[in-house]
């Protein structure tokens, strides 16, 4: 294949632009991936695959929309595809005691970012782990919708577009997801819903 100098320099420019986007959004993407997949190893794989796919299809990226919207869509689709490919849902009964969570989670849990978010709220590690656990108990579609709405702050319309469903489905998934998580937490840590300072 013959490259002209102009095409080469243009490609370098695109490459530089994409590298910049990777550096800027890597942490945010990783955080979402971590909450989606539930552990660091899968999250890293997911983020890497998503960025690689984003690079391959970077010519289709519409510069007028935020990069994270477009990228979240890629990542969510990858995640859901992967989940369906594995063909099994990690169904753990909400009532049965979790015996293996300490051994696994202790090694894979990462250091929380000491940013302003952890300063403005002092969520105990116990509660953080509990919420994380509860999220992992949700069906993946519910979890994805809830995380996109609450962590990324997307509107229902954007989530519907990312997940390829209707707004009504998104609304139902978010509502049911939150209710399931609420029930999960309420059963184990009812004090989470009594503390007034979190509201």
């Amino acid at each position: 294949m013959v490259y002209t100098a102009a095409a080469k320099s243009m490609e370098d420019e695109i490459q530089r632009e994409f590298d910049e986007l990777v550096r800027r959004y890597y942490r945010q993407a990783y955080n979402l991936a971590y909450r989606l997949t539930g552990n660091a190893a899968d999250a890293e794989d997911l983020v890497q695959d998503a960025f690689l796919r984003a690079y391959r299809f970077f010519d289709r990226y519409d510069r007028s929309m935020p990069f994270m919207n477009w990228f979240s869509r890629i990542m969510v689709n990858l995640y859901i595809d992967e989940y369906r490919r594995r063909g099994r849902l990690k169904t753990i009964s909400l009532d049965e005691p979790q015996q293996t969570e300490e051994g696994e989670e202790g090694t894979t849990l990462d250091i929380p970012d000491p940013g302003p978010t952890s300063l403005e709220i002092a969520l105990d590690k116990v509660y953080v782990d509990a919420i994380h656990e509860g999220l992992q108990h949700l069906p993946p579609d519910f979890r994805t919708a809830v995380l996109l709405a609450d962590i990324q702050g997307h509107s229902y319309e954007e989530i519907a577009e990312m997940m390829g469903t209707s707004i009504g489905t998104v609304r139902s998934r978010i509502h049911r997801g939150r209710k399931q998580l609420r029930d999960y937490l309420l059963k184990r840590y009812p004090e989470l819903f009594e503390r007034g300072d979190l509201k």
Binding site: V22, N31, E44, L52, Y55, I121, L123, D150, L198
Partner: protein, 199 residues
């Protein structure tokens, strides 16, 4: 606005994804209903908790991704297939060509066309259709409409039938009114009621 409706829409209410009127109605209901208000508080708390989960920091930096992209980029590969090169489009073109051949084949129900030996690939396929159940409204190649073009007979000039002009003056009929000639003309003409000149 009953409790069931309100509780089904609480998540959308929390995310402010309802119309203004709905938001207001639910707000009024929540002020008056203890049960829905308690449900609302817990769901809002769930959203709050998820949003304040600590941001996870990846174990490895973005260099891994950048290296993977570099590696991907270093591998020479054929340019990505455009819309007209994909396999799907090839099939579509083929289907369109076959449809066009069927469409343009003249239909004669009394004498179905026989397979032509010279073109063994295409013609048997199209001409073995005894009769098509559908008919396209557009033109066909070798058929003329018998209604629009009457058969021409040699030595015969077609009579052009025209309808009579309804506003043309009728010719005088002596059987109804005898024609009387006087000094002003005939009875068919308009005659003055009195003499303009005294006799």
């Amino acid at each position: 606005m009953n409790c069931r409706y309100v509780q089904a829409h609480l998540s959308a209410y929390i995310d402010m994804e309802l119309t203004g009127i709905e938001q207001q109605r639910i707000r009024v209901h929540l002020e008056n209903c203890m049960e829905c208000s308690a449900e609302y508080d817990t769901l809002r708390q769930v959203k709050h908790l998820i949003r304040h989960l600590p941001t996870m920091r990846p174990l490895r930096g973005e260099e891994v991704i950048l290296q993977r992209i570099q590696k991907y980029r270093a591998v020479p590969r054929a340019p990505r297939r455009t819309l007209f090169h994909t396999r799907w489009w090839r099939y579509a073109w083929g289907a369109a060509a076959i449809a066009l051949v069927i469409w343009l084949t003249p239909r004669d129900e009394n004498n179905p066309p026989q397979p032509v030996q010279s073109d063994a690939l295409v013609t048997p396929l199209t001409s073995s259709y005894p009769k098509r159940s559908f008919s396209f409204p557009l033109f066909r190649r070798s058929e003329t409409n018998p209604i629009m073009t009457p058969p021409s007979v040699p030595g015969h000039t077609p009579v052009i039938l025209t309808s009579p002009d309804p506003f043309a003056p009728l010719p005088p009929n002596p059987a109804i009114m005898p024609v009387v000639e006087n000094k002003w003309g005939t009875t068919g003409t308009l005659q003055p009621l009195f003499d303009l000149q005294p006799r």
